[in-house]
């Protein structure tokens, strides 16, 4: 078994090795009722509130302690977070949490990969460990070529992103001798989705007989605050005909799923075409797990042609939508080449 002798493990509390730091002291969930853990519970609650209500992951690991304590605390905070999310038990919340948390870990990984001295064995071990154990993918370091990482073509294509985003399609990757070559930040990005699914899985698989009272109280308050803000979703297009591709996006949003970039573009241009106000559009995008108001506002204005000298973007054609795998054609789509034609068709224009 790999031995991690340093505080880097604190950044990756989902690893078995990190977990062993608390099991060897016989930590039990009931212990969380004790006052000794209050500061960790508070820290977990604050993190979750930042994720859910502000879309921010401004989280700081407290490094002013012994290595051992740092790792222990981070593992416990991670566990408390999972407990809180489990007891809130709202699907959308779980997904949003998992996405934000995976993005946080991703950030650590990227900085470790890009800044660490490549001879630092520990970082490499952590990486190989994560990739091999959690995602059963073997990554190799190509020392001869600028420290690129490489992964077998077949393994690469097991990652959904290879099919979802153009830039990640095989054609736009560097292939050589049976391997896909990736730099540090790319290889981590490749695993974002897997990290996300892993966290969801951990939450689902958690079986707890009794949730400590302190935790229960916090989860109840977060839950009611969430419910106040998010009442049930209504498709903002009042017209009776919603093109099936757009409906599918609404359904995905309702389920708390994240949208790939082309789907956002389709939804944005479609809403602009339907004369929705910026506020109305933001109301919808707010439900995306990685929502960031500033960025979304900027992007929507850009699409509408209201930024700089940018030109207005139009709703993509059915052909384009099909290419992006976003088409969910039904009978009503017969004879159209752009989803906007459905609106005109029904309203008789």
């Amino acid at each position: 078994m790999v031995r991690f002798g340093n505080k880097d493990l604190a950044k990756y509390p989902f690893l078995k090795e990190a977990f062993s730091y608390i099991t060897k002291y016989d930590f039990k969930l009931e212990d969380l009722d004790s006052k000794d853990y209050l500061h960790l519970i508070d820290k977990a609650a604050e993190k979750i509130e930042n994720y859910l209500f502000f879309g921010r992951f401004e989280y700081q690991i407290n490094y002013s302690k012994t290595h051992e304590t740092i790792v222990q605390e981070e593992v416990i905070i991670f566990l408390i977070s999972l407990l809180l999310i489990k007891s809130i038990s709202i699907d959308v919340v779980t997904k949003k949490f998992a996405l934000m948390e995976s993005m946080r870990f991703e950030k650590y990984l990227i900085s470790d990969l890009n800044t660490a001295d490549r001879d630092d064995k520990t970082i490499k071990l952590i990486l190989y460990k994560i990739f091999e154990d959690l995602f059963s993918t073997k990554i190799l370091l190509e020392v001869d070529v600028y420290n690129f990482y490489k992964i077998r073509i077949n393994d690469y294509l097991d990652h959904p992103i290879a099919f979802q985003e153009k830039e990640w399609n095989l054609i736009n990757r560097t292939l050589h001798n049976g391997f896909v070559y990736l730099d540090g930040s790319e290889i981590v990005r490749l695993f974002r989705n897997e990290l996300y699914l892993l966290i969801i899985d951990r939450i689902k698989k958690m079986s707890i007989t009794r949730i400590p009272d302190t935790i229960m109280a916090i989860s109840k308050s977060i839950k009611s605050r969430w419910e106040q803000i998010h009442h049930s979703i209504n498709a903002p297009v009042s017209n009776a005909v919603t093109p099936p591709c757009i409906q599918h996006i609404y359904d995905q949003i309702s389920k708390g799923e994240n949208l790939p970039h082309p789907a956002r573009l389709l939804l944005g241009t479609f809403l602009i075409y339907s004369n929705k106000t910026l506020e109305e559009m933001l109301e919808l995008f707010k439900r995306l797990p990685d929502f960031d108001e500033k960025i979304t506002r900027y992007q929507l204005e850009h699409l509408a042609g209201k930024r700089g000298n940018s030109k207005r973007y139009f709703v993509p054609s059915c052909e384009k939508i099909k290419l992006e795998n976003l088409c969910y054609e039904t009978r009503i789509c017969q004879g159209i080449s752009n989803p906007t034609q459905l609106i005109r068709k029904k309203s008789g224009i």
């Binding site: 077949n154 830039e167 560097t174 292939l175 049976g178």
Partner: protein
């Protein structure tokens, strides 16, 4: 695609396009009967030409018979069983799945797919060669008139129901070879597939099938195979992958600080447009040369790159590569569109399909030609005049398969 059968080609609906020309023939159709005999004779004497792997019982077989019927989802326990079937039915075409199945005779979703070699199909028709315009023929489906060259309406009856009869020439084969070599090179350089694992076959008419036997790709799903095909065709290449991006005004800017490992498509394109990239980074020299090139081409660098990609990519049929349930012409069997066999090409440069894939006998027969044509087979040139000609069986078989000649009464 008629050198393979896809899953839905089971019904006769498609036969109008690809099927046997004998499907509506009378039982005593002279051409059909003669050809059936010739094929049977070939299989009787040249059975060992059929290339069958060890696990014959795990593959699906399919046959097209001389009456146009297609039989699919068949399996044989051993070579003897297959041999008996072929001699009994004398099929016009024999197909064999590249996939192995737990039960090859079951319905498609019940077969229990085990895996499949990677297969690439390069068809002369998809190359749109200039020479093809001069030597291909067009058959009118209404009045059966045959014209030379490319026409949009029948000269005899003005019908637009036309069918191209391809009569590939040596130049066509050369162009196909170029495509095969491009494919093999990308497979080798980018996919790391050893040339010993790549098997090239002449399809028997106007194309090549390239089989990759590599355990790394044997289990790849249809979705992955499609990604391979898109890669080989250079479809969807973004200029950003070359380290060039477009700014807000649409001006292209080289990204000079990124390390661009110069391999794969990037290397191929940079080499082809003669843009130097040193130490896997875009340097001043590159930017200078790049700007000059951009000025000279009115900023239309995207078009230039697309042209180069078109030139460098392999012209494969992506549907064939991604369809894991397709059945392919069996190597060593006769292609009823030409009378030539699908043949393994040990060395592409020295392989001559008009010699090395021609296995029909050479006793003379009388044949009535519908037109004036030159045919070169087994290293001999034949100048054929309209009307009666005395020709070797292999030339007669070629003409009947192409639908340009009729066999005369045998004595």
């Amino acid at each position: 695609m008629s050198d393979t059968l896809s899953f839905d080609s089971n019904n006769s609906g498609k036969n109008g396009k690809h099927g046997s020309k004998y499907q509506n023939a009378e039982p005593d159709d002279k051409n059909k009967n003669w050809l059936e005999g010739i094929f049977r004779k070939y299989y009787f004497y040249h059975y060992s030409q059929l290339e069958l792997g060890e696990l014959i019982n795990e593959h699906e077989f399919g046959f097209r018979l001389f009456d146009g019927k297609i039989r699919r989802h068949l399996a044989f326990n051993d070579k003897k069983e297959l041999y008996a079937y072929i001699i009994k039915f004398s099929p016009s075409d024999i197909f064999y799945s590249s996939s192995r199945y737990q039960s090859p005779t079951a319905e498609i979703d019940q077969k229990g797919w085990i895996g499949s070699d990677l297969i690439f199909d390069i068809d002369g028709k998809d190359l749109h060669l200039e020479c093809a315009q001069s030597h291909n023929l067009v058959l009118c489906k209404d009045c059966s008139f045959i014209s030379k060259g490319i026409i949009s309406k029948c000269v005899g009856c003005n019908s637009t129901r036309l069918q191209i009869i391809d009569i590939p020439c040596a130049r066509c084969i050369k162009s196909l070879n170029v495509e095969v070599k491009k494919l093999v090179e990308i497979l080798d350089d980018d996919f790391g597939i050893d040339s010993e694992c790549i098997f090239v076959y002449f399809s028997g008419n106007n194309g090549y099938h390239v089989h990759v036997v590599d355990k790394n790709f044997y289990n790849a799903s249809a979705k992955k195979r499609n990604a391979f095909a898109q890669y080989l065709m250079g479809k969807g290449y973004l200029i950003e992958s070359l380290g060039i991006r477009r700014n807000n005004e649409g001006v292209l800017i080289p990204m000079s600080n990124k390390i661009l490992y110069n391999q794969g498509w990037r290397r191929r394109i940079f080499d082809s447009i003669h843009l130097p990239i040193q130490n896997h980074k875009i340097d001043d020299k590159f930017v200078k040369k790049y700007n000059r090139m951009q000025d000279a081409n009115n900023n239309n660098i995207q078009d230039i790159i697309n042209t180069h990609i078109l030139d460098l990519s392999a012209k494969i049929d992506p549907n064939v590569t991604m369809d894991i349930h397709r059945i392919f012409r069996l190597s060593g069997s006769i292609n009823s569109k030409s009378g030539l066999i699908k043949a393994f090409c040990k060395d592409l440069d020295s392989f001559n399909p008009f010699v090395d894939a021609c296995f029909i006998g050479d006793s003379n027969v009388e044949i009535e030609s519908k037109l004036n044509i030159k045919i070169s087979l087994k290293g001999k040139q034949f100048s054929i005049k309209p009307g009666k000609n005395t020709l070797p069986e292999y030339v007669a078989a070629y003409m009947i398969c192409k639908g340009i000649g009729d066999i005369q009464n045998q004595t």
